[in-house]
Every structure is written in structure tokens, then in C-alpha cells.
């Protein structure tokens, strides 16, 4: 079981833990919000069944997906993909946060916690965590910069979602960039 991670610098406690079916109503708060969905490949959820489907079929089986909790209540989610073979040295981070909690440094905190956790849990095989951010998603670019990621470049017309191709900024953080790296 993953231990809850706490940061005593926050007067409000941010923790990461696995998502459960019982979190569906909290999940729907951000999953139904078009401001949250804006730079995501998915459309805002309109039915509770979609939230349940996500938790059961995507979140629970995922190699590394956590609820971002504020004082124990899920207000977002964060994940790191796991690759195999020659690609196992890198994982890709992704996250969502309920609109109400934007602008307080919570996503930055969650990213730092997630990066620390995967570098510890996946051992020497994982050397790089990367993030791809829409060029227009300035808020998320700032989250990764504040979390210590390096901006490596702009990948032009990299991916299509919601009907058009996007320029994506590529960020990365290496195990050797993070304090107390085991490598």
C-alpha cells in the first residue's frame, strides 16, 4: 500500500493516494468542468457512469495514478505512465486539478511529490519524468517550471485533440536533478 505523503509546510495538508470507487462524486467536480478539460484530450464528463468507468477501468489498473487530496478529500488526480523495453527510462506525467483550487501551488506540490515517489519506487530504471504541455497552457507550464522541470523545446504539430493539431512544450526532470537521487 502506498503511504500517504504529507508536507508539513502546508497549513492545509496535500496528500496523494490511490483513487477509489467511493471518490466518484469528488472526481466529477473536476471531470465535468470544461475549464479543467480544456487542454485534455477528453470532453467534460456529463454522467456519473463516466466517472465510475474511469475509476474502475483506467485509474485503478493504472501503474501509477493517484488522487490529489486536500485534507483527505480528492480535488484532482496525477499520474505517471510506465514504459517498457528501451523506453523504460522515461515516464510521462499528467495531472488535473479542480478549478476552485488553482493558483495556490497545489499542482506544483503534487507534481514534486509524484516525481519523488516514482523515482524512489521505480528504482534505477527510471531516469526521466517528462511532461508535454499545450503551448497555450501557460498555467501548466508554470507548474512544471516551479516543480523544477527543464523546458527542452517546442514540438510543433505534435498531437491532435479536439479536432486540431497542437504545438506542445516538452519538459523533463531527471533523477539527477532531484535531491537525494539514488542514481
Amino acid at each position: 500500500m502506498d503511504p500517504e505523503m504529507k508536507n508539513s509546510n502546508f497549513s492545509e495538508i496535500i496528500t496523494l493516494r490511490p483513487l477509489e470507487v467511493s471518490d466518484v462524486d469528488d472526481l466529477m467536480v473536476w471531470a465535468s468542468d470544461e475549464r479543467v478539460a480544456r487542454f485534455c484530450p477528453w470532453e467534460p464528463n456529463t454522467k456519473r457512469e463516466q466517472g465510475l468507468d474511469f475509476i474502475i477501468n483506467r485509474a485503478i489498473p493504472h501503474p501509477w495514478l493517484r488522487a490529489i487530496c486536500l485534507n483527505g478529500k480528492p480535488i484532482g488526480s496525477i499520474l505517471v505512465t510506465k514504459n517498457s523495453g528501451n523506453d523504460a527510462c522515461r515516464g510521462e506525467i499528467g495531472y488535473n486539478l479542480a478549478w476552485e483550487h488553482w493558483g495556490k501551488g497545489i499542482a506544483t506540490k503534487a507534481v514534486k511529490m509524484a516525481v519523488k515517489a516514482v523515482f524512489e519506487e521505480w528504482g534505477t530504471e527510471l531516469e526521466r519524468v517528462e511532461g508535454l504541455v499545450d503551448v497555450e497552457n501557460v498555467g501548466s507550464q508554470r507548474v512544471l517550471e516551479k516543480a523544477g522541470f527543464y523546458r527542452e523545446g517546442l514540438l510543433r504539430r505534435y498531437v491532435v485533440f479536439k479536432g486540431r493539431s497542437r504545438d506542445m512544450v516538452l519538459f523533463s526532470i531527471l533523477c539527477s536533478d532531484v535531491e537525494n537521487c539514488s542514481l
Partner: protein
């Protein structure tokens, strides 16, 4: 059937599908350690492995061509095809027998391949990208000469022969191709 593709500046260079009949020409570059240096594979040692590769990887591949000099294969070039939200991009790869390095042949083959895939895939494909080992300066020059943009250095991106490598990302867009 794929037509042979020709270009003005090096008329003897053509691209065509690679088949099992080409295995002996294939083995010339596939056995060469200089060619294999920045590739994921070790130099081939058996003709049977060459046949298996052509049969199982090359023939079913969405876009894989022999680079021919006066009709004879001296290398190969390929572009991947993705699905869903990734269909707007394809990844380029190529090898050339070392005897023919330094003559602009690969640059020509890259220009021909890019032109062909943008034409064949239409509006669906917007980007051809290539990832080159940071130490593979020769290949970086090929892409620069072919008009690709260097987008950045991706640190510790992939494992090659047991070591994690920094890779340079290059891309060419369908909207860039007017320059060629």
C-alpha cells in the same frame, strides 16, 4: 505497386519497396558495426536473421523503402504511421551502407521520403520527426541539410544498447516542405 521515386539532384537515387530478394544487399549494411552503432540492433551475423527481419518487419511495415543507387539497394528508409491523436506525426529512420556515406545520398533519400509520405497521407500527416543520438553528428547534419528544424535536446530519453542516451529531436512540417 509503388512507383520508383526520383529526384533531380541525384538522378541515380531511387526509393522502392525492400523485399526478401534484396537480402544479400541488405546484409552489406546490416552486418556493418559502423552502421549499427547508433541503431537499437547489433550487427547481423546470419542471412536467416536478415530474411526474418525483411519478412516480419519490413514487408508488413506501413512505409519502408530501399534506398537504391542505380537500382541496387544500398540502404533503407522508413516512416512510422500512428493512430488516433498521434496520426499527425510519423517518425523517420534510415540506414546507409558506410561505403556511400558523405556523398549527400541520405539527404536526398530523406527529402524524397518526406515528400512522398506527405503526399500519400494527405492532411492527416502534419509532422515528420526524427530522434538522433546526441553523438551522431553525421545524422544530425543529414536532417539539417534536408530542411528539418532542431527542436531540442531530450535528456536521458531512451536506452540504447544498455546505456541511456540524450537524443536530439528534429522535425519537418508539411507546411515547411515548400522550401525543399
Amino acid at each position: 505497386m509503388d512507383p520508383e521515386l526520383k529526384i533531380e539532384n541525384l538522378p541515380q537515387i531511387t526509393l522502392r519497396p525492400l523485399g526478401v530478394a534484396d537480402v544479400d544487399d541488405f546484409m552489406v549494411w546490416a552486418m556493418d558495426a559502423r552502421v549499427a552503432r547508433f541503431c537499437t540492433w547489433e550487427p547481423y551475423t546470419s542471412r536467416e536473421d536478415g530474411l526474418n527481419y525483411i519478412q516480419n518487419t519490413v514487408v508488413p511495415h506501413p512505409w519502408f523503402k530501399a534506398i537504391c543507387l542505380n537500382g541496387r539497394p544500398i540502404g533503407a528508409i522508413s516512416v512510422t504511421e500512428n493512430s488516433g491523436g498521434d496520426a499527425c506525426r510519423g517518425e523517420l529512420g534510415y540506414v546507409l551502407a558506410s561505403e556511400y556515406w558523405g556523398k549527400g545520398i541520405t539527404t536526398t533519400a530523406v527529402k524524397m521520403a518526406v515528400k512522398a509520405v506527405f503526399e500519400e497521407r494527405g492532411e492527416k500527416l502534419e509532422r515528420v520527426e526524427a530522434l538522433v543520438d546526441v553523438d551522431n553528428v553525421g545524422s544530425q547534419r543529414v536532417l539539417e541539410k534536408a530542411g528539418f528544424c532542431r527542436e531540442g535536446l531530450l535528456r536521458r530519453y531512451v536506452v540504447l544498447k544498455g546505456r541511456t542516451r540524450d537524443m536530439v529531436m528534429f522535425s519537418l512540417l508539411s507546411t515547411d516542405v515548400g522550401i525543399l
